[in-house]
């Protein structure tokens, strides 16, 4: 399947049905929550044991993994690619740039589930955790995203 024909809802449906514990992170998570930002890629953080099932969910879309699940676990990340690009973090924990440890299990427990369609769910980190994930790569655009997320969080807490 070429990217131009990529069916986004079907992609998320396939992941949801796979049973893989997958958190959508990165800017597409921001978009789902209502922040209008541009992005090219999909970014997921998956449970370290779920790379194989995640890859199987992506296979019908001709998304090929750059590494085997075993290699991916050793590296901590890999990608699924065709015309689309899906970055996948597969680690028990990752450090932010200032040394705070983000643990998948904890983020998963605090996740927010968004209904994309009647039978399609996508899981994203809660706002505090999403803000924390932005401090892993810590690029200038992540700072901008943190500011937007902070404004969104402040609005929700009022």
């Amino acid at each position: 399947m070429r990217g131009s024909a990529f069916d986004e809802a079907e992609f998320f449906r396939s992941i949801d049905r796979s049973g893989a514990r997958a958190l959508l992170i990165g800017r597409r998570a921001l978009v789902i929550l209502g922040l209008p930002v541009l992005t090219a890629d999909y970014d997921f953080w998956i449970h370290i044991d779920d790379a194989a099932s995640f890859n199987q969910a992506a296979a019908p879309f001709d998304l090929a993994p750059t590494h085997t699940p075993q290699e991916a676990r050793a590296r901590g990340r890999y990608a699924l690619e065709n015309d689309e690009h899906v970055d996948v973090l597969v680690a028990r924990e990752v450090p932010t740039i200032d040394g705070q440890k983000l643990r998948f299990e904890e983020l998963w427990d605090r996740r927010r589930t968004v209904q994309l369609a009647a039978d399609v769910r996508v899981h994203v980190p809660c706002l505090d955790d999403l803000i924390a994930t932005k401090q892993v790569a810590a690029r200038p655009k992540d700072v901008e995203d943190v500011r937007l997320l902070t404004i969104l969080r402040d609005g929700e807490s009022q």
Partner: protein, 88 residues
């Protein structure tokens, strides 16, 4: 502007946006207070986006289309001409 210079400028902009900040740079950037104007502008953009694209799947589809237009034209304002919204 020829294609090469546009491509080069885009590459430099991307490189700048993708560079990793040092912990001190990050702390400094995050310590800048959010001004009232910045907050109001962001809240208006969020409200517009959610009103115009009322479901998560509609928002995803819009951004996908907007990104395609942006890469075709190199102009982020083409993505949201009325809002100048997606220029990141």
């Amino acid at each position: 502007m020829n294609d090469e210079s546009a491509s080069s400028r885009l590459g430099r902009a991307r490189e700048f946006a993708e560079r990793r900040l040092s912990p001190d740079e990050l702390r400094a950037a995050l310590s800048v207070p959010i001004t009232r104007a910045e907050r109001e502008n962001a809240e208006q953009l969020i409200a517009w986006f959610i009103r115009r694209y009322s479901t998560p799947i509609a928002r995803l589809a819009y951004v996908r289309q907007a990104y395609s237009r942006w890469t075709a034209t190199g102009d982020a304002t083409a993505a949201a001409p009325n809002r100048g919204l997606l220029q990141r």
